[in-house]
């Protein structure tokens, strides 16, 4: 029986976004990094795309500044819905912290398993450090390391599926480069990560399993092309562990369009293919994410 906890983070994100909407003049516009270099925010609260983080830090603060953002995201799939809200903050384009709360609704799974809970909530806290390089201005990529601590708050269903732990951590190393006029005179964004993880479905189905209960390295890639200063199209790939014999786990893919009308706002829409998710195959659907920077 899951106990209802006060949902502080979604409220905080909503309040921040509303404040951003209402304020006439805004700090984000006086921060110095170039439009869209804040990136969007992933489902785990990290600066990046939709499912794959990047080496960039959130907000628009350059190396003498700070900044951050708040976001809400929603994924609609045939048999699942995922809602995420969170905040992040970066200091001197060197370190960043983020917090995200995820809520997975899984009514069809509950019916299939004949269990009562119909949703799983998870909190993800992340710290990211830029180790070297600049996204644009150095000859080598910007390289960052991130660590994510994840706590699954509704472990009943994950445990029934064979997950070993209700919390865990991911470690990842990310390299990102924006090549100006890189392709067809458009700015080309390239990103590659390696991640050390034992999370099942990013932790929503717990950590570790009967097939494998130790961390392993997985790869993540994303690439995008800026059509102009405001529009980015691209795709992502995220390799996943496969720890549970009861529910095979697929790698994830997205194809996205991101719109950065100003430093204050960004909106991302994506087609997502999450493959087989906890006994339901062909989980292809839509992703939308709204981000406000401050």
């Amino acid at each position: 029986m899951s106990v209802s906890r006060p949902r502080v983070l979604p409220l905080l994100s909503a309040w921040l976004l509303a404040t951003l909407l209402a304020s006439p003049a805004l700090a984000a516009e006086s921060r110095s990094r170039i439009l869209a270099t804040s990136a969007a925010t992933t489902l785990e609260g990290s600066a990046g795309g939709g499912i794959v983080p990047m080496a960039v830090l959130p907000g628009y603060g350059a190396r003498e500044e700070q900044g951050g953002s708040a976001f809400v995201s929603y994924v609609h799939l045939p048999d699942y819905d995922l809602a995420v809200a969170g905040v992040n903050w970066s200091w001197r384009n060197r370190v960043a912290i983020s917090l995200a709360e995820q809520r997975l609704s899984h009514q069809p799974l509950s019916e299939r398993l004949d269990v009562e809970p119909t949703s799983i909530r998870q909190t993800v806290a992340e710290a990211k450090v830029r180790l070297a390089g600049d996204l644009i201005y150095t000859d080598w990529p910007q390289v960052s390391v991130g660590v994510q601590y994840k706590k699954n708050h509704d472990f009943f269903v994950p445990q029934a599926a064979g997950a070993q732990d209700d919390s865990g951590y991911d470690l990842y190393l990310s390299a990102t480069r924006l090549i100006l006029a890189g392709l067809f005179e458009r700015n080309l964004l390239l990103n590659a990560n390696i991640r050390y993880t034992k999370a099942n479905q990013v932790g929503l189905v717990g950590f570790g399993g009967d097939l494998n209960d130790s961390h392993e390295w997985v790869g993540e890639l994303s690439a995008g092309l800026f059509l102009n200063q405001h529009w980015l199209i691209g795709a992502e790939y995220r390799q996943k562990p496969d720890n549970l014999s009861f529910i095979p786990e697929s790698d994830w893919y997205t194809a996205f369009v991101a719109w950065f009308p100003s430093k204050r706002w960004s909106l991302v829409g994506a087609y997502v293919d999450l493959g087989e998710v906890a006994t339901f195959d062909n989980q292809r659907g839509a992703y939308v994410s709204l981000q406000g920077s401050f």
Binding site: R33, I34, N93, D134, Y137, L183, E185, L190, Y237
Partner: protein, 143 residues
């Protein structure tokens, strides 16, 4: 794992295409910027942007603006394949001792983009100029 390999190949292929399509192309960037008049217009708009930008305007108070304006025009002309020879001090010498910051460099780039937008410079031309100027980062900041 097979799909990961495909992904890696795709990204590498993108990188390869990217390297072969770098600036240095057919029509000179100088012409696409509108030649002498085009560059003068961009530099003028840039100065207007700087004058209204409290993040960096103080840095320009001590400068001889007319000299800066002319030096920048010549520099842009020379790096974009125009008929000019920039004979001033190197970027590193010009900027050393001022300890210009990463924030200030970014602010200047942002102002340049705004200036080019004001002058209706198309995206591809903007990107090619920025790609050239971005290389100067190491000769501008924290010196």
């Amino acid at each position: 794992m097979k799909r990961l390999t495909q992904g890696v190949v795709a990204v590498l292929a993108l990188g390869l295409v990217a390297c072969t399509s770098l600036p240095g192309g057919e029509d000179s960037l100088y012409q696409r910027l509108g030649g002498e008049a085009g560059i003068e217009g961009i530099v003028y708009e840039l100065l207007v942007e700087i004058a209204n930008d409290e993040r960096i305007v103080e840095r320009f108070r001590e400068l001889n603006i007319a000299r800066f304006q002319q030096g920048l025009e010549t520099y842009l002309c020379s790096v974009t394949g125009g008929p000019c020879q920039y004979t001033g001090d190197s970027m590193r010498i010009v900027h050393s001792g001022h300890n210009f910051t990463d924030s200030e460099f970014n602010a200047l780039v942002e102002n340049l983009i705004t200036a080019m937008n004001r002058r209706d410079v198309d995206t591809g031309t903007q990107n090619r100029l920025l790609a050239i100027l971005a290389r100067d980062y190491k000769d501008v900041v924290y010196l």
